[in-house]
C-alpha cells in the first residue's frame, strides 16, 4: 500500500494513501469533533463540525470526508476554526430541545458532550425546534423527530449497513426531515426493529422503548420473576460501569439480578444449547433424509422479520427452531414451573437482550405462547439493565460472582458463542458431528466460520461428509448468499450450501442495537474475544454434553424434535408485506 507523508499541526505523520484527515489526526493523538461521521459508515459530510484548514489555502475542508494529500500540513485547531465549530454547534443546538434531564441519552449524548467540551452556556440564536409528534408505533423503538439533528447516521445505517430502507430523508433545506418510508409510521415501514439506528444516533432522537419501570412493577408484585440473560450481554454491560469491553461479567449479572429482587436467574445460553439440539437435529434430518436445503438459522428476530418481508420464498429453508430466548421462555413456564410447583401465570418471564428486535419478537405471533400464556413477558436491553443496576445503587464492578439457578441455567461453551457471528454455526457443527458420526469432534474450534469478513464461506468435514456452510452478518450482506441459493434453485442445481447462519447486526449480537453506546469495530473485536474466551474457559464445550440439557430431554422433552419439543420449541413463519400502508 502506498503511503503519504503529511503534517497535522506541524507534526509529521505517514499514513496510507486514501486516509481521511480525521483518521490521520487520530494517529498523532489529535481528536477532531464529529457528529455525523461514524467509523461504520461512509463519511458524507453533513454536520460540518469537523472542518479543518489546509495550510496555504483559504478554504475550510471537512476532515471526515477529505483524503490527505502528500506534503500538506493540516491545521485542526486554532481560534478561527474553534469559532466556526462553535457556531456550527450553536446552530445545531438552537434547533434542538434543551430537555437533557428526561432524555434517553442523558449523560451519554454526543451533542451534550460537545456542548460541554465547547463550554456552551448560551445560545445566541432563536430556538427553532420543530414541534412534531413522537413515533411510538413499534414495540422496540421510539423516534422523537424534535430531537433529530439531521446528521443522517440512522438513514445511512438503515440503507447501507442493513439494506432495510425503512428510513429516508424527505424534503430539503430547512424542511428536511428524517422519517420512515415516505412519512409513514415506523411500524408501517419495512423496519426490522434491529435498532442499529438507535445504536448509531448521536442524540436521543431514536432510542429503545424503555421498560425498566414495568420490570420494577413485576418485582414489586407477587409474581415469581424469572430472568434470562443473553450471551452478548455479559461481555458488554461492564462498559456502563467503566470496565473494558469484552470483560466477562456473567457472575456479576447473576448477582446484580438477585439484588434487584429477581426470584430465579437463568441463562439464555442454556436455551442456546437447547436450540443446537433442536436445530442441529433438524439439520441432520434434512441432510440425511433429503429435506429442503440449505437450512437457514432463525435465532435472530430482525433477520426473521427481514426474511418474511424480503425473502418469503426462503420460508421452507428456515429452521423451525425458535430463538434461544423464546425456547428459554417456553421451558421456564412449563418444565421449570412444573418442577417448582408453579402455574404458568405465577411466573413473570423477563429476558435481558442486546437487541431491540427481541422486544418485538415476544409477541410476533401466537407461537410465542407455547406455555399457554406469553412465554416471555418482558424484554430489557443491556442498556436498560445497566440503568436499573445503577438506580438500585449496586456497585456492579465489585460484585462477587454468583451462579445461575438450576435446572435451566447451566451452559456449554457452544451456547455462549451464539452472541457472535459464526457462533451458531460453530456450535451446531460441534453437535452435528456427534449426531452424524456418533463420535465427538476432535477440534471444537471451527476456525472456518470465525472472523469479521462480511460473508464467510467454508467446508466443514464431518466423518465422510463435507458440510458446505455460509455465514453472513450485517443485513446488507445477506443478499449475495440468498441470490446464490435462489439462482441454484431456479437452475435446478444442487444447493450451494447445506447450512446458512445469518445475524442482522454487524459482528453479531455483541454489537446488537440494544448494547451500550459507542460500539465500533474495536469494541466489536473486544466483545467477540470475550465470548470466545468464555467458551474456552468452559469445561463443557458442546451443547449435547451440557448436563442440564441431557436432563431436560431425559425428564421432560424426550428426544430432540420430539412431539413435545415441537410444540414448545418450534414455530412457523409467514409472508409479511414490506409496506403495510
Amino acid at each position: 500500500m502506498a503511503t503519504v507523508n503529511i503534517k497535522i499541526n506541524g507534526l509529521p505523520v505517514e499514513v496510507e494513501q486514501g486516509t481521511k484527515i480525521l483518521a490521520a489526526a487520530k494517529k498523532v493523538g489529535v481528536n477532531i469533533p464529529v457528529l455525523c461521521e461514524h467509523s461504520d459508515l461512509e463519511p458524507w459530510a453533513a454536520c460540518g463540525i469537523c472542518i479543518v484548514k489546509v495550510e496555504g489555502s483559504p478554504k475550510l475542508v471537512r476532515a471526515c470526508a477529505t483524503e490527505v494529500v502528500e506534503g500538506q500540513n493540516y491545521i485542526t485547531h486554532d481560534p478561527e476554526i474553534q469559532c466556526v465549530r462553535r457556531t456550527v454547534l450553536e446552530l445545531i443546538i438552537s434547533n434542538h430541545p434543551l430537555e437533557c434531564l428526561n432524555c434517553a441519552r442523558n449523560g451519554v449524548c454526543e451533542l451534550q458532550q460537545l456542548a460541554e467540551d465547547f463550554c456552551i452556556r448560551e445560545i445566541p440564536y432563536e430556538s427553532g425546534v420543530k414541534e412534531l409528534p413522537k413515533d411510538e408505533s413499534t414495540k422496540s423503538l421510539v423516534f422523537d423527530p424534535r430531537k433529530c439533528i439531521n446528521c443522517g447516521r440512522c438513514v445511512q445505517v438503515c440503507q447501507q449497513l442493513q439494506d432495510v430502507w425503512a428510513l429516508e430523508f424527505i424534503g430539503r433545506g430547512d424542511n428536511t426531515l428524517m422519517t420512515a418510508a415516505g412519512g409513514a409510521l415506523i411500524s408501517e415501514s419495512p423496519c426490522i426493529k434491529c435498532g442499529q439506528c438507535s445504536a448509531h444516533c448521536p442524540v436521543g432522537a431514536i432510542y429503545e422503548k424503555d421498560e425498566t419501570q414495568t420490570f420494577m412493577q413485576m418485582i414489586a408484585s407477587d409474581k415469581h420473576v424469572a430472568v434470562q440473560i443473553a450471551p452478548a450481554v455479559r461481555v458488554a454491560i461492564g462498559e456502563m460501569f467503566d470496565m473494558a469491553p469484552g470483560t466477562i461479567t456473567t457472575g456479576k449479572i447473576y448477582s446484580a439480578l438477585r439484588r434487584l429482587g429477581v426470584d430465579a436467574v437463568f441463562d439464555t445460553n442454556f436455551a442456546a444449547d437447547l436450540t443446537i439440539m433442536e436445530e442441529g437435529t433438524e439439520l441432520v434430518q434434512r441432510v440425511t433424509k433429503g429435506g429442503i436445503l440449505p437450512q437457514i438459522t432463525s435465532c435472530c428476530p430482525a433477520w426473521t422479520d427481514y426474511m418474511e418481508k424480503y425473502y418469503p420464498d426462503m420460508i421452507p429453508h428456515f429452521s423451525t427452531a425458535k430463538s434461544p430466548m423464546m425456547m428459554q421462555g417456553a421451558v421456564t413456564k412449563t418444565y421449570y414451573a412444573e418442577k417448582k410447583g408453579l402455574k404458568n401465570t405465577d411466573i413473570a418471564s423477563v429476558a435481558i437482550m442486546p437487541c431491540t428486535a427481541k422486544k418485538y419478537e415476544i409477541s410476533r405471533d401466537d407461537n410465542m405462547q407455547a406455555s399457554g400464556v406469553n412465554d416471555v413477558d418482558l424484554v430489557l436491553t443491556t442498556r436498560e439493565l445497566g440503568r436499573l443496576i445503577k438506580s438500585a445503587g449496586i456497585d456492579f464492578a465489585n460484585l462477587v460472582d454468583e451462579k445461575a439457578d438450576s435446572p435451566i441455567g447451566a451452559y456449554a461453551g457452544a451456547g455462549t458463542i451464539f452472541g457472535v457471528t459464526g457462533g451458531v454455526m460453530e456450535a451446531a457443527v460441534r453437535t452435528a458431528h456427534k449426531l452424524i458420526t456418533g463420535e465427538e469432534i476432535k477440534d471444537v474450534n471451527v476456525s472456518a466460520v470465525r472472523g469479521t469478513d462480511n460473508v464467510k464461506v467454508g467446508e466443514v468435514v464431518i466423518g465422510d461428509a463435507k458440510l458446505k456452510v455460509a455465514v453472513a452478518h450485517g443485513m446488507a450482506n445477506v443478499r449475495t448468499i440468498m441470490d446464490e441459493v435462489r439462482a441454484a434453485r431456479e437452475a435446478g442445481l444442487e444447493p450451494p450450501y447445506h447450512f446458512i447462519e445469518v445475524m442482522a447486526c454487524k459482528g453479531g449480537c455483541i454489537a446488537g442495537g440494544g448494547q451500550p453506546y459507542g460500539t465500533n469495530d474495536e469494541v466489536r473485536a473486544q466483545r467477540t474475544a470475550g465470548l470466545y474466551n468464555d467458551d474456552e474457559k468452559s469445561v463443557v464445550r458442546c451443547s449435547h454434553q451440557n448436563p442440564e440439557i441431557i436432563e431436560i430431554y431425559k425428564d421432560y422433552l424426550g428426544e430432540p424434535c420430539s412431539h413435545k419439543a415441537h410444540d414448545l420449541l418450534h414455530t412457523k413463519y409467514q409472508e409479511r408485506p414490506i409496506y403495510s400502508k
Binding site: 440503507q159 429516508e168 424527505i170 409496506y579
Partner: protein
C-alpha cells in the same frame, strides 16, 4: 398519509416504465409521467412504482419530496397560479396572493376543502407587460387589482 386502495397503473404508464426500467435516471422520468396522469403521485402508485422498479419506497419519497414539482396531494380542479416574477411582484403580486388566500380560504400551495381550487405562486410567466397577472388553467388574466379577483374565481367555481 391517507391509506388508499390498491391501484392499477394505466397501460401507457406501464409501457413507459417498461421502456425506462433499465435506464439511468428512470425514477424521475417515471415520476413525471405518473404525475402527468394523476395530477399528483398517489401513495398507492408510489408503492407500485417501487415494486416495479425494485427501488425502496423510502427512496421514491426522498426524490418526490426533494423536488417541489412533484405533488403528494391531489390538486384542485382549477389551479390558480399567481406570478411572483420581479415585474409582477413590484406591481403588487403580494396583494393578489393575499386576496386569493382570503377568497379561497386556503393558503399558498394548498387546495380548498371542496377540491375546486389549488393556489400556488410561480416564477415569471413571460408576459411582464401584463403585470401583475394570474393564470387559471391555461388562461392568463393580466393588469389585475385585487378587486378583480372575485369575478374571475366565480367564473371557475363548479363550472
Amino acid at each position: 398519509m391517507p391509506t388508499e386502495e390498491k391501484i392499477e397503473l394505466p397501460k401507457d404508464l406501464l409501457e413507459f416504465i417498461a421502456k425506462w426500467k433499465d435506464k439511468q435516471g428512470n425514477l424521475i422520468m417515471i415520476l413525471h409521467k405518473t404525475q402527468e396522469h394523476y395530477g399528483y403521485i398517489p401513495r398507492a402508485a408510489a408503492i407500485e412504482l417501487a415494486k416495479l422498479l425494485d427501488v425502496p419506497l423510502a427512496k421514491v419519497y426522498g426524490v418526490i419530496t426533494f423536488y417541489h414539482f412533484f405533488k403528494l396531494k391531489k390538486p384542485g380542479k382549477n389551479i390558480i397560479s399567481v406570478c411572483m416574477g420581479t415585474a409582477c411582484y413590484i406591481k403588487g403580486a403580494g396583494d393578489l396572493m393575499a386576496e386569493c388566500e382570503t377568497l379561497l380560504g386556503c393558503g399558498v400551495n394548498c387546495t380548498t376543502d371542496d377540491e375546486e381550487f389549488s393556489l400556488q405562486g410561480v416564477r415569471c410567466v413571460g408576459c411582464c407587460g401584463l403585470a401583475p397577472l394570474i393564470t387559471v388553467g391555461g388562461e392568463v388574466y393580466g393588469k389585475l387589482t385585487p378587486d378583480a379577483l372575485p369575478a374571475i374565481i366565480a367564473k371557475y367555481r363548479s363550472k
